[in-house]
């Protein structure tokens, strides 16, 4: 599952339309989704983003593999309006803590560091991108997912020549809309990574078949999981039918141990 986090509805709207996301909930935070992705409109600022992400994660059933994408507008001293920036470093201005989202060469066309500030800035003191949520996004996303599944992209909405007070909802939606092809590239890249994660680390279907058929204690579940992994590693002939006749969990484990001991080890 891919989760997209936006601060404002006008940032989210073009994405919701592009991916045909349906409203799922409006209770605490507006949440939109389709089969493959969820989008939450968090509100402005770090606390809102952290709360929204925790809400989305819990609401989604604390899934094992989630990719996270923060999309929003930001300011920069010189970057032109509408420029999409892939963020390579996030600094929280208050705490001076840094985070480094994963780098993918196909997404590095234009990249920059970013500073998350408490209040909108009128002057851009460094050559970083300025905004108000990404540090909380990084800190929270890293609680749920590895850094390889986390990306931050920002669209420039203000600079020294186009000040922040001139930014309105229509402009924001237009800027995001113009960048939908590049946003889609980022989403495809993240989804590809996510797919590889799931393929590598998802539990075997045999594990869930075992759980359905017999009762395992927590300790037995741990043994079962590792035995099934070893079985997959050592044998091309892994099939539930080979253990389906077992009468209880204990005999499943015993049978798996026997099957594994018969496997040859050759490189």
């Amino acid at each position: 599952m891919l989760y997209i986090v936006c601060a404002l509805h006008c940032e989210a709207k073009p994405i919701i339309d592009f991916y045909k996301l349906s409203i799922e909930s409006e209770a605490s935070f507006p949440v939109f989704s389709n089969q493959h992705m969820g989008l939450i409109v968090a509100g402005i600022g770090k606390i809102s983003v952290a709360a929204a992400m925790a809400y989305l994660y819990a609401r989604g059933g604390e899934k094992k593999h989630i990719a996270w994408l923060n999309i929003g507008i930001a300011g920069h001293r010189t970057f032109p309006l509408g420029c999409l920036i892939n963020i390579n470093k996030v600094t929280d201005e208050s705490s001076q803590v840094n985070w480094y989202p994963a780098r993918y060469s196909e997404l590095m066309e234009q990249s920059s560091s970013l500073i998350t500030v408490e209040h909108p800035v009128e002057s851009y003191d460094s050559l970083s991108v300025y905004e108000m949520e990404a540090s909380a996004f990084m800190a929270t996303a890293l609680r749920f997912s590895p850094v390889e599944l986390i990306q931050v992209i920002k669209v420039i909405s203000d600079n020294e020549e186009h000040h922040v007070e001139r930014v309105d909802k229509v402009l924001v939606s237009n800027l995001i809309t113009e960048n939908l092809p590049k946003i889609d590239e980022t989403i495809k890249c993240l989804n590809a990574q996510l797919g590889q994660y799931c393929e590598t680390y998802d539990d075997s279907i045999i594990y869930s078949q075992c759980e359905k058929n017999w009762h395992f204690t927590q300790y037995q579940k741990k043994s079962l999981s590792r035995l099934i992994q070893r079985w997959h590693a050592l044998s091309d002939n892994v099939s539930f039918s080979l253990i389906s006749q077992c009468k209880d969990a204990k005999s499943v484990i015993k049978t798996l141990e026997t099957l594994i001991s018969r496997c040859s080890i050759e490189y």
Binding site: N88, K89, N98, Y100, R103, Y104, S105, M108, S111, S113, L142, R143, S145, P146, V147, E148, Q193, Q196, Y197, T200, Y201, R226, Q229, R230, W231, H232, A233, L234, I260, S261, S264, I265, E266, Y267
Partner: protein, 329 residues
């Protein structure tokens, strides 16, 4: 190809950093405060990072030279190791680095001179002993030499240290620098060696056995002392066949006079590292073999260990005198 380079603020103007950057003009440069911000952070996946590791250029602050683990001895009275780099360009499934580090990015400490000062100091404090300094503990000593030029910088120091040896441990064929310079008699170029089937199955991205033997022959012809490292030996149903074939090839190509030392060791891994490795590679055949835990170390069963060690030991001692043989326990 390295596409991202992180640089610690403190070394951004270091001449070695500037030189390295000239080799990677297309790379994205990201300044960081401390390499640990990237390298030590939780929530990263070594296996996925290994597909496209970044280079981190940093300054080592302390612990330049450390006492070596006992198993590292190859005839020295005092053994030390140092790490100018963390991580390796190869992807060997049995390597402890993947269980020890959270990140697969390469960290290169560019302040070589601080390491050299410490080596000089340690050698001076131990003038009554012969000292061995091992360089390939946290990385491959030669694999990134064209970029780091660490060995090129280190060898003149060992030319001056009469009581000290340096071991370069490698699977690499990056030996051009060694072939182009005078031999340093107290430098052992030690090759980690495995049978073809282990190389192709468990040593991803590493040169073939044949290429390693070719590199050793070239170094032998120039007079460099060679080390042969059969550590870890990997169990399989037909290991005797594979190891016999490998020993025959190596000992028919390398003259005993060129061999400084041969070491042999079983697969052994701190349990904590092993658990991390299994998490990264849950369906890895090698980790699915019958392994046992003893004193917080994972290894083959005592029976398998003894059988493999004595089999390989016998083959090695058919080819070299016992004083050149160093089993790792």
């Amino acid at each position: 190809m390295i596409s991202t380079i992180y640089i610690e603020e403190e070394v951004i103007d270091h001449p070695r950093v500037k030189e390295i950057l000239t080799r990677f003009k297309q790379a994205e440069i990201i300044v960081c405060r401390h390499y640990g911000e990237i390298f030590n952070r939780k929530s990263q996946n070594f296996r996925f990072q290994k597909k496209n590791p970044a280079l981190i250029l940093a300054k080592k602050q302390k612990g330049f030279v450390l006492p070596a683990p006992d198993a590292y001895a190859i005839g020295g009275e005092k053994n030390f190791y140092f790490s100018h780099m963390m991580n390796c360009i190869y992807d060997c499934r049995y390597c402890f680095l993947q269980g020890m580090y959270r990140s697969a990015n390469y960290v290169l400490f560019v302040n070589y001179e601080d390491i050299f000062d410490d080596i000089r100091q340690v050698a001076k404090q131990n003038t009554d002993h012969n000292c061995y300094f091992f360089s390939g503990y946290d990385c491959d000593s030669l694999a990134l030499e064209p970029v780091t030029k660490f060995v090129e910088n280190a060898l003149p120091l060992f030319d001056q240290l009469s009581n000290s040896w340096i071991e370069l441990r490698t699977k690499s064929t990056q030996i051009r620098g060694l072939l182009e310079r005078p031999v340093v008699n107290n430098c052992v170029v030690a090759f980690s060696l495995s049978p073809d089937n282990v190389v192709s199955s468990l040593e991803e991205k590493a040169p073939s056995l044949e290429k390693r033997i070719d590199a050793m022959i070239k170094l032998q012809n120039r007079g460099w002392p060679l080390g042969l490292r059969f550590d870890p030996i990997i169990h399989s149903d037909n290991y005797q066949l594979h190891y016999t074939e490998m020993f025959n090839r190596i000992f028919s190509a390398i003259a005993v006079e060129s061999i400084h030392s041969v070491s042999l060791g079983n697969f052994r891994m701190p349990e904590k590292f092993f658990k991390n490795m299994v998490k990264l590679y849950p369906k890895e055949k090698m980790f699915a073999d019958t392994l046992v835990s003893k004193n917080a170390m994972i290894s083959y069963s005592e029976f398998v260990e003894k059988e493999m060690m004595s089999f390989c030991e016998e083959k090695i001692l058919e080819a070299i005198p016992r004083e050149k043989y160093f089993p790792c326990h």
